[in-house]
């Protein structure tokens, strides 16, 4: 397309946005609302899975070691456990450290003396699993190892937690799926109506001998711009609201894990922009196509 034509097409798209101002505003609002919902639902999903992950990562396995184990054997055992499938971190709490910790938590200064000089605490490993679902397997493997006295993990509670976190994930995915579907539907239907209302215009363009490309371009650009403006507005709303909410939760409900990764939030906002622009442009192009079959 010649430069003059390209410029003409761009100006026409802008003019048409301006002259069909109410239609344009309605479309922009639709895009904005849809993308706001979509953006919120994606952040909701991110947070639910983050919460699930945080809860699961708090499940630990406590391994109590035999009294007779030498420190070299302890290190050897630690290495062995670290090599097990699904193990993330193994930390050692020595019996000396354990009594100090306990003493501190009791607010006492002379616990060891009070106990008659005998330290009742065994040496202990704390194992963190990469995935809560692997805790049980790891625990049973460790139980059989030489030098291990007792293995403890949240039996009973763990199964319930996994059921709960799975639910949390599915709800998040469900919300995203529902809102994606709804927003695609809303945006495409709206733009389709927009294009349909200009059937006459398209018809006239064809009558004066406009090629299909020449007709399609202004609509395509218009859709793109509607998507762009709507997306930018949605990004401002979601970005501001989420930042505020995130700060609020961090300040008041410190125990709640919140996704506060700036890079991730930016990525979500950027995807919203892409979604808006591509949905706007594609919906326009497809709606026009219907009228271009000669």
């Amino acid at each position: 397309m010649a430069f003059d034509s390209a410029k003409y097409v761009l100006i026409q798209a802008l003019l048409s946005l301006k002259r069909n101002i109410w239609l344009s505003i309605a479309s922009i609002m639709t895009v904005m609302i849809s993308l706001t919902l979509l953006g919120c639902s994606v952040l909701f999903l991110a947070n639910t899975s983050h919460i699930a992950k945080t809860f699961e990562s708090q499940v630990e396995i406590a391994v109590f070691l035999n009294e007779r184990l030498e420190s070299a054997q302890i290190t050897e055992l630690q290495n062995k456990i670290e090599k097990l499938d699904g193990v993330s971190v193994v930390t050692l709490t020595t019996k000396d450290q354990a009594i100090l910790d306990f003493q501190e938590s009791m607010g006492s200064k002379s616990l060891l003396e009070d106990l008659g000089g005998v330290n009742p605490f065994p040496n202990k490993f704390t194992i963190t699993a990469k995935d809560a679902r692997m805790v049980e397997t790891i625990a049973s493997q460790v139980t059989g190892m030489a030098g291990v006295d007792k293995v403890r993990f949240g039996q009973g509670m763990l199964e319930k937690l996994i059921v709960f976190t799975n639910w949390l994930r599915w709800i998040g995915i469900g919300v995203v799926a529902a809102f994606s579907f709804a927003s695609i539907l809303l945006i495409t239907l709206n733009i389709k109506t927009n294009v349909n209302s200009r059937e006459k215009e398209i018809h006239i363009m064809r009558l004066v001998g406009a090629s299909n490309g020449f007709i399609r371009w202004p609509f395509f650009l218009e859709g793109l711009m509607i998507g762009l403006i709507g997306a930018v507005m949605a990004i401002i709303v979601v970005g501001t609201a989420y930042t505020w909410l995130m700060q609020y939760i961090i300040n008041t409900l410190a125990f709640m894990p919140v996704v506060a990764d700036q890079g991730f939030i930016m990525l979500v906002l950027f995807i919203m922009l892409l979604c808006g622009m591509s949905m706007g442009a594609l919906a326009s192009a497809f709606s026009v196509r219907k009228f271009l079959r000669v």
């Binding site: 034509s5 006239i204 009558l207 004066v208 001998g209």
Partner: protein, 228 residues
Amino acid sequence: MIKLRNVSKIYPNGARALSNISLEIAKGEFVFLVGQSGAGKSTLIKLLYREEIATRGQVFIDNINLVRLKPHQVPKVRRNIGVIFQDFKLLPTKTVFENVAFAQHVIGKNKHEIKANTENILELVGLGKKKDSFPSELSGGEQQRVCVARALVNHPSLLVADEPTGNLDIETAWGIMELLNQINRLGTTVVMATHALQIVQQMNKRVVRVEEGKIAEDTSGGAYRFGF
């Protein structure tokens, strides 16, 4: 210029609009298509600018068979045909100037050429002063003049008009007819479907009468005297 050979048109709903019509129109002719509503005039006109495609037979414009035309070739053929409608079909969101300019942008003319051409043709149809108005701000006659200007601006060799005076009072209608006559004298072939008996009788041109999808009469030189 125009050659229809054994043309029939049956719409998808089964309505038969034209049956086995043959017609030739030479370059530079001015032809009226007359006949009752539903006789097939509009269908015949639509076949000429390939809004409709003949079910059977051939439609040639300048030796191009419109029936065989591939969809992507249609725009190019249409650029050589100006079309005028009873309901004007102007773009409501574009000004008079933009409506006329649009037809030229479509074929990729440059900006300066378009500006000069548009201003000239708007002067010719007597709308030089209304170029920045929107169609809704114009009278019916003025809107039809814009439509004529748009149809002519690319110098088509054929001008087809479907009841161009149908929505106009008689005086305004004559204004449009004078314009068409003038264009015809400059060499453009004109085919016009109309109900306006008075105009047909006074213009003294070839008249083709369509009746129930067939050509009932084809008289040249104002010999036409029948009522319809």
